[in-house]
Symmetry: C2
Subunit: 414 residues, 2 copies
């Protein structure tokens, strides 16, 4: 057996204990939070090595910042774990049930997934965030982080595994793959005998690689080519505020918008207002012919590729359309199915948009930036699913569960 | 673009219409049922060709029987479609909702999957059964049946497509891949741009091939290595009746059992009774040493492979164990996660079994043969999911849906 197969087997064994661990899961989570705080210096020392290696490898300052841990950030990680412990147990909930005519009593209840794999990139805090959610949801987790954070991740995982064991659960409830080669990622994606689901957390490249190589079930997360459509009936100030907020409050995240689609009848009124707001943040505008006709030649020509891209930057594509149908067609063609918004004062337009857009979150008159487990009231999230299977939108504890039927009889045969 | 890519694009277009088709879906289903009846002779003529080809290719009589259509069977197919039409629309249901502190009104509603792929084997009735469920659930469907039934499937699909068009929906709501080469199946498994989910319906070989080759999300169905565990406290007659029913009422289906695990304290009392019942159907018993010690040398030695196999035949493996824990370990090791049953009169044993067995359906004192959408009161099923993602157990209309969040505001920004 390979190292990873042994890890998978151990995780599967641990998951059988976790399946019915009840309040022991919370005890383990509080123990993890305490241990993260108690071992902060040791984790920071490991992180220092990653930072030094990162500098030597020429990582950008923004990547180094994502990578860097401090006492404050470790306190934040511990806090996050505590908050997950305080949530309701998602396991053992009766989802539905009835008594059949033959007397069989049937119930559908939530159960753990089993073993969850998480592949992620540079941020070491994902190690504790993801492990806490999986543990609370009754599943063992196999983590595979990026090579940039390997020393930090190893230190954090070791602290967590010790804490879990001290709380009376198997330390293999949480495991970290220490081999950060591409090969170890591919092997994890194909660990069908042990892995019940794989969740990649990262950029479009990672997600694509997982979709292409995985044999285990995958939940795709996070790629967001999000749109705001400004309807003919929109309030100009509201449209401007929403576009400005959705583009500039945090351009690097998946629920930020990349394209604004504007009805031709309001384009002359709203485009200058949007441009004036975006100019305060030096947002580059890439527009269609009609956008340029209104805003002038400072606007760059938008290409097909611009409408298809997730800029994750201070860049916005704009397209003026003839009708809400054309807006729906544009969104159907280019959206990644994450979050889209209509700004409108028209009842029918609002209804046509919410019915016609096939995305995880569809907004009327509100910023797409709200697509987030915490904002939605679902608690901490493991990611935002942009596929249609299993879960769609922010995935909290409930979305990390499966279900089973329990059927009680007194000798019924068929 | 390849033929299949064009088919995918057309299905995607059709799915956008289906997304909000409401009662038109039912009109199309009733039109399909009428058209199947009206064109029964034409379908039977096409089926005759398949039967002749099948005979020439040396198909077994049982395969030929699965393949054969008659007026009665076509009437059954039409009836099935009508029953699906009569079910409640699974689309547009509000699953949850609340008003957030910032005034945003958030709802999670059911929406169609989009485009569903179905890969299936010999039975031509699957063509109309699966298409009806997908259509009612608001999704376009691309069907890829086995080569043995290709003429029947083409005739059925043509009839359905015409009926759908006459009912005012795009004929591409239902499409059949006419190329039955292995390559067309592989291409369908990798049609990530157009396919939202792929459901294989067939034997273990097909399922394995799909899991190994698919890049689109897959729901695994149907492989059932099911167990009955006879607890020390079991009623001997009830245990015998359940084992007899679960093994012999229809051995070829996935919810039939393959292994009986027996507590050592009841083995001497229950084994002769089980054997006497099974002997009336000439069931071959493959047992462990302790089984042979009680039942004698007519029992064949059970191998590791016997415990792992889905016989789908009049063959039963038996294992005597020391405790319920050993039974749980045996089931965890060999089960495919379909259906398992405990026969017991002990409260704690019942609870330990239902908590400790990680399968789609866990029974106390009832035959595993009840694992079926119709029996569970869920309506017609597209298959029985044995994986943990999205749906587990019988998949009816509700399990063929996805969801989205609709968020209504009045200018909220974050």
């Amino acid at each position: 057996m390979t190292t990873l197969e042994i890890m998978g087997q151990n995780a599967k064994q641990a998951s059988r204990v976790l399946m019915n661990a009840g309040a022991k899961k919370d005890a383990a989570l509080y123990a993890i939070a305490d241990a993260l705080r108690a071992n902060a210096q040791q984790i920071i020392a490991a992180n220092d090595i990653d930072i030094e290696n990162g500098k030597a490898a020429g990582l950008t300052e923004s990547l180094l910042d994502r990578l860097r841990l401090s006492e404050e950030r470790i306190e934040g990680m511990a806090d996050g774990v505590t908050q997950v412990a305080a949530q309701n147990d998602p396991i053992g909930k009766v989802l539905e049930g009835r008594t059949l005519k033959n007397g069989l009593q049937i119930e559908k209840i939530t159960v753990p997934m089993g073993v969850i794999g998480i592949i992620f990139e540079a941020r070491p805090n994902v190690t504790s965030d993801a492990a806490a959610l999986c543990l609370k949801a009754g599943s063992a987790v196999i983590l595979r982080g990026g090579k940039e954070a390997i020393n930090s991740n190893k230190a954090i995982a070791a602290v967590m595994r010790d804490a879990i064991e001290q709380a009376g659960l198997p330390r293999d409830c949480v495991a970290l793959i220490e081999d950060t080669s591409r090969q170890s990622a591919t092997e994890l994606m194909q660990l069908t005998d042990y892995l019940d689901v794989l969740i990649p957390r990262g950029g479009a490249g990672l997600i694509k690689s997982v979709v292409n190589n995985a044999k285990v079930p995958v939940i795709e997360t996070g790629v967001g080519n999000c749109h705001v459509y400004v309807d003919a009936s929109a309030d100009v100030k509201m449209a401007t505020d929403i576009v400005f907020n959705a583009k500039t409050s945090r351009p690097s995240v998946c629920n930020a918008i990349e394209t604004v689609v504007i009805h031709k009848d309001i384009a002359e009124a709203v485009l200058p207002s949007i441009k004036a707001a975006l100019d305060t943040k030096n947002v580059e505008i890439r527009g269609c012919e009609r956008t340029k006709a209104i805003l002038g030649d400072s606007v760059i020509d938008a290409t097909e590729d611009d409408y298809a891209r997730e800029f994750l930057d201070y860049i916005l594509a704009i397209k003026v359309v003839d009708s809400i149908d054309d807006a729906l067609d544009h969104i159907a063609k280019y959206s990644t199915g994450h979050s889209e918004c209509i700004v409108t004062s028209d009842y029918e337009s609002a209804n046509r948009f919410t019915a016609g857009v096939d995305s995880a979150a569809v907004y009327v008159n509100a910023s797409t930036r709200f697509t987030d487990g915490g904002e939605f009231g679902l608690g901490a999230e493991i990611g935002i699913s942009t596929q249609k299977l299993h879960a769609r939108g922010p995935m909290g504890l409930n979305e990390l569960t499966s279900s089973k039927f329990i059927i009680k009889g007194n000798g019924q045969i068929r």
